[in-house]
Symmetry: C2
């Protein structure tokens, strides 16, 4: 494998292991075995398991920000429709994964927030980036009269992100997409009054 | 230590480790060291680490059900006030823990739902017991006209539990009780229209 290919393969395998097993339970040795990469190569690309984990987080955040922007910046439809389509698309994605894995960054937050301050701070700022995108979309909804001006979009954005993360946790536990459907129906019909 | 004392000490220490480090990352050896109990005694009480973990879950569920009942069956106040007081009491508890740990059973669900079917099934049914208590309380609120009869209490109870779990995850990540306050304000002011 070429240098870039090796690094990409390690990150891809690492992402899969972190989704399946979490951070603490994943060993570098099994990543090396699964990719067929020697230990020396791993440490050429990553200083430590921690740096490896942080780079996996960066990759996931970058991809997810692009996915969010694809939906939330689609000006051909109304702001709340964009938000709804985004959650519907994520719903399809998780349902196709048999309700496994959930949100990698939510999982890592739950696992590591009390243990590793570098992970916690980075995850906190990534979630803030997601929230900012929700806020922007909700502000646009208020501007065109799609959302009541009485509602605080900062609080709504927080609530929306947190509740979605909780719905994903319960999706994993129940192995059913019902918690995601419940989230969408209450969020759009009752909270945002779509 | 007497037999019961030994078992109680093991479960208490195990609960603390599971809250701090999760299941996979906790070793029996460190539980033994922290309690000063020999390995043989551990296996006298528990067939395996898995059985130990499941008994910790049972204990936590039993305690939490009692806590829920204390609040939700207090007929001296209205049903929605009971629900609100319950969340306020949990808020105080988590704030006093410096926003660490979160919900043990939610954490274990996130960590183990894809890995261990015994844990997953047990956790699923415990969460269903919590939901049933919310449903009962919300039905009582509808019966006395405190909650709109148009709302589906089963969906609301699911949403309430899932959103609370997500708020706890974000409380851990942000090390702030704000997500719990956001949960309470949107849930009671907007969703349940308290």
């Amino acid at each position: 494998m070429g240098k870039d290919t090796t690094k990409i393969a390690l990150l891809k395998t690492g992402t899969r292991f972190l989704k399946e097993k979490g951070y603490n339970h994943t060993g570098i040795q099994e990543i090396l075995q699964a990719t067929g990469v020697p230990k020396g190569s791993f440490y050429y690309y990553f200083k430590s398991k921690e740096d490896f984990g942080l780079e996996i987080i960066e990759n996931d955040a970058r991809e997810h920000n692009q996915f969010l922007d694809k939906y939330l910046k689609d000006e051909t439809i109304s702001p709340l429709t964009r938000l709804q389509r985004y959650f519907e698309a994520k719903y399809e994605e998780f349902a196709s994964l048999q309700c496994r894995e959930g949100c990698l960054l939510g999982n890592l937050g739950q696992e590591l927030a009390d243990q590793n301050e570098r992970f916690r701070l980075r995850l906190e700022s990534i979630f803030a980036e997601w929230r900012d995108r929700y806020i922007d979309c909700l502000q646009q909804a208020q501007a065109i009269g799609e959302l009541s001006p009485d509602l605080d979009v900062h609080i709504l954005a927080d609530f929306c992100l947190n509740s979605w993360e909780g719905a994903l946790q319960q999706m994993k536990v129940t192995k059913s997409p019902a918690p995601l459907q419940t989230f969408m129906s209450v969020m759009f019909d009752v909270v945002l009054k779509r």
